[in-house]
Subunit: 246 residues, 2 copies
């Protein structure tokens, strides 16, 4: 997370992520670049960018760090319904809704850019491929949520955790955050538990099972997967739902 020092140059993840959906024209790239640099902010771990019940009036792009969309039940049970990773947008057109139905909070220190509605609409109007890429990003987010429903409804704990790890790796790869077989993995087991619908205790045991099977190495906030195909097989992972074109 050393991005804070030169945040102006940290648009890379967004460009790389959107490029996974559409080849961006120079004009679109320039417009995006300019809009994002306009207002770069940062937040520490455990802060909410926006809460359930708030009125959404702006769109954000994540430049570095991990966040979670989550909902909390009255009695405290928390469910993470999506991770938000560098390059992701949250959310295209969200200001059309009158109220947030979930919260978005940081799991690590985060650097992000904020666009007010008029700026964002201007951006969408500036370039057709850029607009399409943003729509695709939104549709792909939808698809991820569908896959999570399958994950929680029909996969057992081991498959479920393996699947989530495969997804994270395949989402980090196009934004350049996977180095060989490893990637930074800055979140806690509690976060993973809340994302998989498991208890923290059982999540811990499931990770140990994955380690014992030689499928993952996870320590000191670094995830290493030496045989990704084996992990994908264990997870029944099919990457089609990520909708990358290249």
């Amino acid at each position: 997370m050393n991005s804070a020092r030169h945040e102006g140059s940290q648009i890379q993840p967004v460009l790389r992520r959107l490029s996974a959906f559409r080849h961006l024209s120079e004009c679109g790239t320039a417009a995006l670049d300019k809009a994002i640099r306009e207002r770069v902010l940062r937040a520490g771990t455990g802060q909410d960018l926006i809460c359930e019940g708030d009125i959404p009036d702006r769109v954000r792009f994540i430049l570095s760090g991990w966040l979670a969309r989550y909902k909390t039940l009255e009695d405290g049970r928390r469910q993470i319904v999506n991770f938000v990773l560098p390059g992701d947008a949250c959310d295209t057109m969200i200001y059309l809704l009158s109220e947030m139905d979930h919260s978005i909070g940081t799991l690590t220190p985060v650097v992000y850019s904020e666009l007010e509605r008029p700026q964002f609409e201007q951006l969408m109007a500036s370039d057709k491929t850029l607009a399409e890429a943003l729509w695709c990003e939104s549709l792909a987010g939808n698809a991820i949520r569908r896959e999570w429903a399958v994950n929680m409804g029909r996969r057992v704990a081991l498959e479920r955790v393996a699947h989530l790890l495969c997804e994270i790796i395949e989402r980090l790869r196009p934004v350049g955050l996977v180095d060989g077989n490893s990637c930074a993995f800055p979140i806690t087991q509690m976060d993973l538990a809340d994302a998989t619908g498991l208890s923290a205790v059982h999540l811990n045991r499931t990770l140990q099972e994955l380690r014992a099977a030689g499928l993952i190495v996870l320590r000191e906030r670094v995830l290493t997967v030496n045989d990704l195909d084996a992990l994908k097989t264990a997870a029944l992972f099919n990457p089609n739902y990520l909708h990358y074109v290249h």
Copy 2:
């Protein structure tokens, strides 16, 4: 399901559903009406409108009947990731993606309208409030999927089934398919099980628990809920995620 006899007049559900998000102008209503009547089709129970892997090239509006979005794992486990009810669209802008990541199949006989991409884009361009309503519909579908993640991850069987029933009622109500305390409920327990991530046996027992508690009456394909507030309390149901404006 007697809609087949006079399908030309069955645009009501779509109008009513979109009106829940934005007041539609006369011009928008007329354009929508015209576009939908152009090509009305029907399908029997158990047919797929589109399958995982297919290339999406058109948008559909459901005029009557229930469908499910679902995914199937290699070993046959099925998960319904969403119900598609009368008035729903599937899906705004879907043709931007190169391949379907899930299937959409009928659970009952269905009457629907199909729009090719150019027609749909023309429709979106014809009226601003209509376009916004369609976007809201899409964003609300997103929100429903988030709530499902909470449902499957953090609610126990009884709460989970109760929550799904509350959601269905609150989605059927604005399209005029709730009559007093009752609505047609044309799907099987197997479908409900696949939607809640439960086994068919346990779903059956959970329904009986809800019946024994006096929370629901479900027989002969009709669901009656005499005390909806009690059911909502049991489900920890908060309707904010449906994003209805009126």
